[in-house]
């Protein structure tokens, strides 16, 4: 099957590997552009939020590129995002597109549905359970390595002497990770990527301003949706750290909930958790 997924930052590199190694064809979602947003605005309800519209645009673009299935995550609310896939499906059907959005709900919520979908993806790709688990493991490591390299780049960028070095190097590192096919290769690419970042000529005497970036998960994660804010700030000499990384998010939310701490920090400001869209995490992490 031709499979695509939402684009969130650089995670597409790991997800592309996943889809291809599950025995499917991957339609890599293009970086959201003006056209993506225009498409989204045209076909999404007026009061849907920006992430909904960008995703709508992306889905229409991957449909044009031939995608048959779009894999995404569900969610349990109260934020609207957990309902996106249902609406996206309705809208795509109405437009007569031959593409279906398949969402994985949290295994915590609906274990059976989760396994059913996992098996379906695995079987249609023709993988044995063992191979499948191996592929998932590698994807996970890849995802983490991508986050590691990106995280480091945001620390180095404000110190770079030649503007643009870091971003160029980051891409080189990401390309290495893109090529890596085994756990060992990923580890090697990760180390190599970090090493390249370290060797960028930099001025350690600067004491960069540190800014934390918080907010709704999609807007924070997709550079094209936030005007490349981290790169922009970095090149202005600001060190940024953001509250959400995809690997950290899934690490926390899928199986166990380690967020108790963050909730308690937000409590003086908001009594009911969660209110959705990472509202609580945003408030809590600003305090931290």
């Amino acid at each position: 099957m031709k499979i695509s997924f939402p684009r969130m930052g650089y995670s597409y590199i790991a997800l592309k590997w996943l889809v291809e190694n599950m025995g499917h064809e991957c339609i890599v979602p293009p970086e959201p552009s003006k056209r993506t947003l225009d498409l989204g605005v045209r076909y999404a309800p007026e009061f849907a939020c920006i992430p909904f519209k960008i995703l709508m645009g992306t889905y229409l673009e991957v449909a044009e590129m031939g995608a048959e299935i779009i894999l995404t995550s569900g969610g349990r609310g109260p934020c609207r995002a957990g309902y996106y896939w249902v609406m996206h499906n309705y809208l795509l059907q109405e437009l007569g597109k031959d593409v279906r959005v398949v969402a994985f709900e949290l295994p915590l919520d609906n274990l059976k549905d989760f396994w059913k979908k996992v098996h379906w993806i695995r079987k249609t790709g023709g993988l044995s359970v063992k191979e499948f688990i191996r592929v998932l493991k590698i994807t996970w490591e890849k995802l983490k390595a991508i986050d590691d390299v990106e995280m480091r780049s945001h620390e180095i960028r404000p110190l770079e002497i030649h503007r643009g070095d870091t971003t160029r190097t980051l891409w080189k590192g990401l390309e290495l990770l893109d090529q890596a096919n085994t756990l060992e290769e990923i580890e090697e690419a990760r180390r190599e990527g970090l090493k390249m970042l370290e060797s960028i000529p930099r001025d350690d005497s600067r004491n960069p301003l540190k800014i934390g970036i918080i907010g709704e998960i999609y807007v924070v994660l997709e550079p094209a949706a936030n005007h490349y804010i981290q790169i922009m700030l970095g090149e202005m000499g600001v060190q940024t750290d953001r509250s959400i990384y995809l690997s950290a998010y899934t690490r926390k939310n899928t199986i166990i909930n380690l967020e108790g701490d963050i909730f308690s920090k937000a409590r003086p400001y908001l009594n009911e958790a969660p209110i959705g869209g990472h509202g609580v995490n945003s408030i809590g992490e600003t305090v931290l």
Binding site: P45, E46, F47, A48, C49, F52, G74, R76, G77, P78, C79, R80, G82, Y83, V86, M87, N89, Y90, L91, E94, E105, D109, N110, Y269, L270, N271, E272, I275, G276, G277, G279
Partner: protein, 330 residues
Amino acid sequence: MARVGIPHTLAYFLYYPFWKTFFEALGHQVVVSSPTTREILDLGVEETVNDACIPIKIYHGHVASLIDKVDYMFCPRLVSVRLHGDFGSETFCPKFLGLPDLIRLTFTKAPPIIDTRIDLKKGKKELESICVEVGSRLGNSSQESQAACKKARQVHRQYLALLRQGTMPPEAMEILLNGAKPASREFPPDGLSIAVVGYPYAIYDPYINVGLLNMLAREKIKIYTQDMLSDKILNREARELPKSMFWYFSNRAVYGGLYYMKKANIDGIIHVTAFACGPDAMVDRLLEIEARRHNKPYLSISIDEHTGESGVRTRIEAFVDMLRYRRDKA
């Protein structure tokens, strides 16, 4: 004895009889704000951020109008009123969840707020313990509160029964709480039937929807709403969706809309939606698409503080004309 204030909006339309009975059984006085008026809306608009949805603005207006008249403000935190919803986690729109905090931070001079958390999915006995907690804030013993809870439950059941018979909430409250006689209405045999779905605080508040139900009633149209359907019927509709939404009132509107779409005796569906409502962006499009698939005429009326009566009237009249034409042709 304490005076407890209840704002005449949001959950009021479904739960007022319950809480009125409860507080009065405990010997307190219930003060309910007047139905929404221009002044209440203005008070609310003053106190809220610009991009809040109109129901939240109005809620603030009702609270403001009650502040000097009560000893306690009843503003519970509605988390879930379902024993088990979709995935067991159906809740309310985020603005509901944060409402007591908003009220507390906005009205620093407000009387103590009773912001008890209402989360019925936690267990069978939950409602009773909530009542005990609310009672204890007012100085009532657990026994008193339990007895009052029992009484309130009975009244609530009668209230729901009246709604299921097709009575509108304001009339049902009159019958139940003030012993009014049910009004008898005649409908012409060839008259139209329209289902009006949407949030109770949008469809039963004639101020915000500029008298929409009355416009229909004057045309001798039989009106149905989602609140006339039993939970069993609504839940059946839930199973036909790939997934339910996460917000209780939104789901009721969606299920109700889906149910009436399939009914041959319903001529059309009107969805009353609140401008700038987060969930409604989904609800409205979903209903619109489903209505088209079911070949049922669908009209969406969006309301905000600038909604003019004549604009709504024109659209309603055009819709009704179209329905009549459609029926005559058939």
